[in-house]
Amino acid sequence: MDFPTSGEVLLGGQRTTALNDRELTRLRREQVGFIFQSFQLLHTLTAVENVELPLLLAGQKNVRSRALDRLRWVEMDALADRLIHQLSGGQQQRVAIARALVHSPKLLLADEPTGNLDSATGEVVLQLLQRSAREFGVGVMMATHSAESAALAHRVLQLRDGRLERALAPR
């Protein structure tokens, strides 16, 4: 979505700065899933319709079963037909995770995924992220202010005012 002011971003060995808009769109569709602090679900759609969205945008057909699979995985299948405003914050973030994983991306980018949640709900979300890495082999890259969240990661890069302060060795 963005370009580095200096240096380069390599994704699966591919330099993102070398890609045009069409190729970047394809990259997002196939390899990246996003999770946001404020969930960013579409309020006009139901939970399952939100999850279907990345597949539909990629032009895929018969997407309902895969969307329901992912919702089941985050234990939200029972509420699949609820509209977004009928869900709690934690439930919304679980739907957002299902959406981020529905197209089996290689990389999950999570921006403060627990920032808007209480600690118990945040814990559940973090566990889901950990499980997704384990079960689907997705690389999860998470930005967080929380030391507890960071503690779950294999590798932590500590930033201060936009500069890398230190890199902790992988666990």
């Binding site: 979505m1 963005d2 808009d21 069409r22 769109t25 997002r28 569709r29 196939e30 996003f34 946001f36 404020s38 960013q40 579409l42 309020h43 006009t44 759609l45 319709e49 969205l53 990345p54 539909l56 945008l57 990629a58 032009g59 959406r99 197209h103």
Partner: protein, 830 residues
Amino acid sequence: MSALLLFWRLLVRPLAQEPLRTSLTVLSVALGVAVVVAIDLAGDAAAGSFHSSLESLTGKGDLLITQTAGLDEHLLGRLVELPYPLEFQPRIEAFATVNGKGEALPFIGLDLIGNGQARIGSFGNFERPIWAGAALNWHNGQNVRLLINDVLTDFTVAGVLPGEENNVIVTDIGLAQTITKRLGHLDAIDVKLPSSGSVDSWRRLLEKQLPRGVRVEPQGSRTDENRKMLRAFRWNLRVLSYIALVVGAFLIYNTIAISVVRRRNEIGVVRALGGARESILSGFLAEALFFGFCGSVLGLLLGRALATGAVKLVGNTVQALYVSSRPAAVHFSLESIAAGVGMGLLVSVIAALAPAVEAARVPPLEAMARGREEFSRRQGAGKRAWMALLLFGVAALFTRLPPIQGQPVFAYLAVLFLVIGTAAVIPEILGASVRASRRMLMRVAGVEAFLAAQSIEAALGRMSVLTAALATAVAMTASVAIMVGSFRETVGVWMASSLKADFYLRPAGSAAADQHPTMNPAIADDIEKLPGVAAVDRFRAYAISYDGMPATLAGGESSRVRDAGATRFLPGENGRAILDKLPTGDYVVVSEPFANKHKISPGDELQLPIAGGVRTFRVLGIYYDYSTERGFIVLDRKTLLKYLPDPAESNLAVYLQPGADASRVREEVDRVINGRGILVFSNSTLRKAALATFDRTFRITWALEAVAILVAVMGVAGALLAMILDRRREFALLRFLGAAAEQVRKLILCEAGLIGIIANLVGLALGTVLSLILIFVINKQSFGWTIQFHWPAPLLLAVLSGVLLSTILAGLYPARMALAMNPIETLHEE
């Protein structure tokens, strides 16, 4: 002062942040006001100047003496001998065209030796001197060839008459009488009264001295009659000109409603900080007034510019259907300025009332807590459905009510109620349509169309207003298209049944409804003797005044018309029997518009001032006629000649023998008329020419409809721009989720397209109902024409697809704007 500051800070300044949308709203008001102003100015100008140039020349007389088909010259001698201090100025009135082409110019014969010479100057030594109005741009000594009736004659310009608008040609009355073959006749006598005594008392005195059938009227009554005749036409035109403003009203409503939604938070804060309900209400009304004021001022300027073009279009129609008039200068009166600005402000405030009241009712806490949300009308769906039903019922009732002073006021109200009623249920129609179609849309047009349907449903309030505006414009256009299409078809069918002759002849020059130049009667006689010619129908027409309204008195050959079956009478009347009886006495048939205008039925008696007396004629029947709205009173030619023994004809219809070689006969006819200014039309060219005239008269209507649609489409563009801003988070998110740029564009165009399709369908349905009111109530009450309903499918298809295409195109810029936003920044902002 503080209120003004707050108004500036809270309401005006935010408008500057969306200059394009603000301009679109102002422009939509401006266009609405401009059209109203332009039509008002153009109507005034087009109806403004019957004979006004003549008045400026002779000095305004006080009374005018006239008679059907002209006065006997001896009358002047008797009048002059009366022991009263009155001045009499006789005149001959005709029309001339330069070389038989172009505009018909008033050709006036005045007694230049008696009164007017001082104004006109020396005669010079020319054989046939004329004095030409300055507007003609002729110079002294110039030779001009003029066609008067069917004869071309050379004249020399002896002088130029002042006045920029003056296009009159004046000559001495003796010469005019010779040229127009009216020796011994006068068309009118102007009377100048002394300052003592009232106009009315002099009028009564003169009437006693004059034979029956001679009319004495105050000057300007002809202009008044013409204005009266034009009233219905101008009324309808004016109502049409309001359509764009009504469509504009929806957009003001939408703009203010969006403004209320966006500032819900601010409203809460302002109320919490001590702002009163009334301040909120007046704030939003002031915002609407701001739009109304800017739009109206711009509209005045735009209207003044459009008026020049409109005068030409309106003038065309007036000329073709009513009376020859030269448009006066467009005159910007204080009244028209006040009317334009007042209209713009009024419509803006009315349109803004509902959302402004809604804003004022918002409880402050709720406003702050819930933040931005969709503007929703307080009334529920049920209440609105009932209101619509009530409006439809009242509208149905109103279509049954008679006109007020000849104007179909109730029918116009019925149209307005139907429009408002339909707008009230648009949210239900729109919601149900997108709900019903979204799965299908997904299959047919992909996820973008599905998302578009979802977003429309989510923003039903504002999308409904937009759909209503567009549907109103479509409905009005469709109804007028159906009406005009039906009218055209009816005229076509009428022509096919009534134009049975093979050739038609008339003097060259422009064909205005009140001009009846004549031909030498020898021509008809010569043509009748040609081999291959079966019969010639001789038709003579006179412009007259009946019961204070202009009309046409005419004579035709009943037997020829009967044999050709060329006249269709109203249902229930026996055409053959009527035409058999017509020549046998003082009988007439009248055209449908005449019968409607004067409430005449078969069997009624008409009093016609004719041949030195008032004669009574019995009406035998009413026939269909679509050639002029003035209305015809038709006698048999023999009866007409008995009273008005001038055998010259205004029109000839030539019937060929079966099997005759039309092109050979045509050559012979051309030989007979050789050198005269006479036009010969074959049957098909006459029909084509008539339809061309028909189409020309409705150009102004199309122009008005086009403006209404333009306003609606601008509204769609403006509302989509607002929508893009309000939903930028959604578009950014879609980009994160893998939507390509084209997909976001497609989504926005799909929304515009869906609105366009639904507005088209609703508009077509409503337009069909409105067209029935137009055809069977408004037209009937205003003009008295019977029009057969006809669906002009190709025209409607063109209009609807044009609207749809422009609606989709209106989404292009907003889509570009959506794509220009940076998704990361957008999501961060939120």
